[in-house]
Symmetry: D3
Subunit: 316 residues, 6 copies
């Protein structure tokens, strides 16, 4: 390393700074980098959304997250103050999400963004009781589905499946209410924490469980029934991406991911691609690759024995 020293002539620190700042802030450099930002339309804030999700988690699973010595009778105080703050923060972020899209599309500014954003945030708040019902069923499913789980509460604390589904069921509601970009950010927070990547658009039924979960991907147009169980490394993806007539840009928004019916189990590493249907109660084995419909009750496994070479240790 020492012999590299001559490579580094003594630079003038302030001059390097000045020059680099100038290059980075040149208008065309910024435009090329998608930074068409303005002070009047600040972009969504990761910090604010992190706070929102933390507050919601504390409301949905009181005692497990947030203030710890909440009791049955003090819970309304904590839930009320948390949700009041969620409305405030989330309205602002929803509005920023709209502006983010408007700016991109050079649309005329919509005059009612702010009031609409609060209305949407309130609609979302109203859905929270049903969101919690869904999550309670997911907790039961996680407990029932894993012999290592000693109590449902343990899955609330420790299971990435519950963490990912909490974010998903929040993000999915916001997606359903037409909120732009914010749901994606919330989904990606869970992806970063758990390795489980669920697009907010995916429809997921009751009692869903993903064991371990790292590397599992669930695409935007998936439709998943009740009582479905996945393992780590499962992909519910798209097979191909049609391009538009101009030949260049992908057609966005088509139904292109699997339909998974009730009671299906998909083992680790399996890959299911395209708008196929996995029939009720089917079992997809580990590492299996599926690109066609699977009938209800079917069981698909890899014929592993035939494809592995068994080499006795002696000759290695």
């Amino acid at each position: 390393m020492i012999d590299q020293t001559p490579l580094f002539a003594k630079l003038d620190r302030d001059a390097v700074l000045a020059e680099t700042v100038e290059q980075l802030c040149a208008q065309d450099a910024c435009e090329a980098s998608w930074h068409r930002i303005s002070r009047d339309q600040p972009l969504p804030s990761l910090d604010a959304l992190t706070e929102v999700v933390g507050l919601l988690r504390a409301v949905l699973f009181p005692g497990f997250f947030g203030p710890q010595d909440v009791s049955e009778r003090t819970m309304p105080y904590y839930a009320g103050s948390a949700l009041d703050r969620v409305v405030k923060l989330l309205s602002e972020q929803i509005n920023r999400g709209y502006c983010f899209v408007c700016a991109k599309e050079n649309r005329a500014p919509c005059s009612d963004c702010e009031s609409r954003s609060e209305a949407v945030a309130l609609e979302f708040i109203r859905k929270l009781p049903s969101v919690r019902e869904l999550l309670a069923a997911d907790v039961q499913a996680a407990f029932d589905g894993d012999p290592a789980a000693k109590s449902p509460g343990e899955t609330i604390f420790c299971y990435p499946s519950i963490k990912a589904l909490t974010n998903h069921r929040i993000a999915h509601q916001l997606h359903h209410l037409g909120v732009d970009i914010i749901p994606r950010i919330i989904a990606e927070m869970a992806h970063s924490d758990t390795g489980i990547d669920i697009h907010p658009g995916a429809h997921i039924g009751e009692r869903f469980f993903i064991d371990h979960g790292t590397g599992t991907v669930i695409g935007e147009t998936c439709v998943i029934g009740k009582n479905v169980r996945l393992y780590q490394g499962v992909t519910l993806g798209a097979k191909s991406f049609p391009k538009d007539d101009t030949g260049g840009r992908l057609v966005k928004g088509l139904a292109r991911h699997p339909i998974v019916e009730d009671d299906v189990t998909v083992y680790a590493g399996a890959t299911i691609l395209g708008r196929v249907t996995i029939g009720q109660g089917a079992v997809i084995g580990g590492n299996v690759w599926v690109t066609q419909d699977v009938p209800a009750g079917a069981r698909i496994v890899q014929a592993r024995a035939s494809e592995q070479l068994y080499i006795s240790g002696a000759g290695i």
Copy 2:
């Protein structure tokens, strides 16, 4: 998006809040959601456990984590104050772990929980020197096993394997001492950070190394020998989950994961399921699927050539 506006009638913010809070805090809603919490038995705290693991990491790898300009002679000051705090925090969390289980089982309150919790925390502290010996050997194994590693210290800083094993060897000690739920939480912290999911119950021998690691899963009843090396995406899992006689609930706690003997290597994406034994020195190739015993010294690879279709690019 603009045309959706009519969907959102102007809601009364305070009324929505009040109504939602009432629904979320209704007694049956809470019970259905596993929130049988009480102010006298607060649940374990993720923040406290995060601080505990951070303090232990600083004690186990001084200088790498925690105060950075510790010297040989000032180390006792830092180690002593850190461990004093660990005892305090961990005793409290261990006790909360007991209460968590008691509450679940509606057991009579155990009168000696607090003193027992501190005793267990102290037993744990006594094991730290041997925990560090194990981790030092893991560091050496990581350095020896990866040509990209330039020094053992680099693996302490950068290798998810070392991070995951630090949490595991801590969690495993606590699990061995009969601590409830806390070990699972500590294990899941590492899973979230590294993508490596090791159940605290797994027995792992000296000089263990997982390269890259994302997606690797090691089940509760695994027994892993010395000098074993895994890669990313490896599953050491269970094959099936027997249900109890009543036909509904999983039987919990059975030995259902693999035994991996000394000197075994398992390449990326391999899946080993059930209570099988991988004999000493065996090599399991990438993406291989194993559900039966493998003799010592064996080498198993996929017969890839035969199963892939090679299509020249011309016709696509």
Copy 3:
């Protein structure tokens, strides 16, 4: 659990602490644990590097990260103060990286470390405009490549690919400038966040995109062309690790990872091992295993049909 109580005799808290501290701080214990630290050569600081990467992210994608209401005309203020701080923090960390290596190799102390460290930090700063150009192209590639992406900006906020590449393109520059260990730490930060593990040594061309990304591994000596797209769980790894003549230690630094030419696509779970070349425009199917060269334009898929057992649901 209650019956375990007798196992835990009442320990003297202070005595346990004193004894454990003594054992942990004994000289040989420390040396065995790689802790040859000194107060005059503090180790690199994860906190400082986290701040550096956060500041750089704010400079590279202003408005998306860091201060949110930056405008075109105030940007120089924010960029300038952020980069001034980066120079200060990074110079110090680069120097610690040198010392880290020197200490390991028992080299004589290099007299010019500090000035050399600042020179390198300044060289790095000068590369930032070109780093941003590369990242802007990566953003465009992510948008073009994923039908679920609604705008390039969305990929800056939410796509692990962009997060991982930001760290990589920073780390790669530092690696190229001969900085020790710091690039690895920066790469591992992204690995922890995204599940994407890219070694700082890897050469990656323009318009690179990794969809979903969890579990993807790109090795130290990879060379990746322009316009390449990977999916989750892809491994670009080494096939075997030659040991040196003494028979024990791995030979470090050899070119041992794939060359991936322009316009290649590698689907989820595929594994490419060794110094093989994937020719321009080739498509590697999901879960395919490649250890030999693939010609330009080729398409390789698994012959799935033949290897899966289809079992009708009736008989299960």
Copy 4:
């Protein structure tokens, strides 16, 4: 300065540390320094009490302090969660106050300290509505009494009188409930912030106002009526401290401070010492020194003219 260098022989840093630590931690050194502390009876916490007072201030003056966009209908959520936390923190601190006194007096440990502490904290909570009534009247008095005040709200934000009285009325309640030491700590917080030193024992009637306030002292056994106004630098103190029969120790707790009846005004710098009575409506002029009773309606001023030497500027 440079010539002092020889004074400082090169000291061994670690040796100095070790030696100093040993001296500071020697048992007799600690005892001489009042540090008869034990881990089971931690001392009161300034941080916890700071949080308590902050929460109370937000409850007593919602919107001015604490969450800022509280509305009439969300106020119960914020007040409830704040007071729930106050009960928890304050119970603990009250208990520590008891232990602090017990330890000092070597009393037998009182078995019911914890339950008694919570009972006292709850009694205190019940007094809060009347505490707020008093403070509302103090706010009105401050507005009425200062021509520079433009609104009552301004005095809540900016007037040291209101800050000091908030702490005092809290501390006085706790004092009245028999809480040890905690009230003194709360009073001293206000003294540090405002320069107004009011002993928690002082009885202060409605509509009290201290303008500017720096340096004003109100002693432990003062009794102050309604509608009293003080200025900065006023002392309501004790004249002499009788010692006990043994001739050495001060007799503690005697009534030794002034009684100030309704509607009295005391201007800046006046000093009133001993158990004298300032009759209703009396006005005590600036810098006046009073050690005897003053009848109702009297007005006392210094005969300044007679005591100042007027020297024309010419001759200086």
Copy 5:
């Protein structure tokens, strides 16, 4: 203390909370307590103003406060980003100040508050260079006036006079620009820190110095010339407060405080009351009481000798 226990019947914690919250949040209780707050007009924020003053201090005295290794050439980056944030924060606070007054007066909402607030904030920013010139002269005056000061820089770091004047010169500008309440809050911050209470309305000339300063009060309508020096405990106050014709309310805003001409010195504890003029170069001795004009060049001292009783120690 122990015998007080019976006083405290066991209270139901949750019931006490519920009852107290209800009382505190009853509408009339709130109104009586000046809490006519609304979510749409949040009150000024002490935290935001603390940040504003901190940023301004860093801009006015770079290196002394704020980022410490600023250089001549990087100063614009730091000053620019700091001032940009000041504009944002201060505009918001100025607007809240207007609303605070409007709400009080039940005025119709002014439609242009927001734009006017930013305009005022920008006018304020433009005054900063002249504010700094004044402060630089104050620094020189502090150094010249105190034999204990070893350098001007020392007075920037350590002298309450400089701290108080920084806040005052900021607050006075805002007051001059018609900003409501915010200047008072900024002034009170300095009062709390230094014990020096300067009303934002006071006009203070160049090279002003207050030594020690605790307890010094400078009233709203004071006019102070150049080169004036005060000591601790000096009052420049009002003599009486005329009430309006209705006989009840104080007339607000009249000129009622002293005029202090150039080169005057006022020693510790002196009190000057009413709209009197202290002529150029006059010296007011310690503890002197002045309620009439003092001619230029005069020197007033207390005739101390005549008023003190000298009692030899023997007879006490």
Copy 6:
């Protein structure tokens, strides 16, 4: 307020910023404002010194400040780690203090500043046991001297006298060791908190107590004996400041403050000016003004009766 609107023409925010930044950063503007700063000689840091004093307070009064559940046997861990950090921080700050003076005096850089700074910091550490002895005696004096104090420990928690003396006895040691400016900053921290202004140069004997303390000032060259007690508002100051032969600048460093012998009491508001001696056991009454020597055992009080006008209330 509304009619002022026209005053504020719509300003261009960015232009105002740019212009103001330019003016503030112009070289002559900076020089006039004492900002001869350089990146290589950063100024002392208030934050670092605040941390230093906090750590020292925790070491001097363990349990009262800092970690609260320290026990006799764990105290060495806490003291050791705290002092190790103090050495590091304080060495750096001492060095900055030297540079601060050097820069001012344009002295040649002293080559040994860094090593000298650490040597001084270590000398200071060695004095801590004797500093604590002094403070323990001050605590006893506070308890003995105030009938409102219920225990010595209470004075540690609540008495500004102890807080101010802790800072003073630290600052005085540093002053004695020739440290520049740092002692003044530490003294001013206490002044801001307590209103007690003690110059680090003052010599103060054992068992010193200041009751209430707001506004008390103790000058640089004071010499105070044992067992001295002061009250609030006492000034031990200088009478006049001789200027040097050039007629302009104050002569700095002369002995110009009082000598106060053992067992003296000075009541509130008394002023003692110049190099006078207050003899052993003398008592100086409240508000008395002393500019000449006072013999041992004397008692001086104001002849208040003669100077106050008593006006019966009727005629007011």
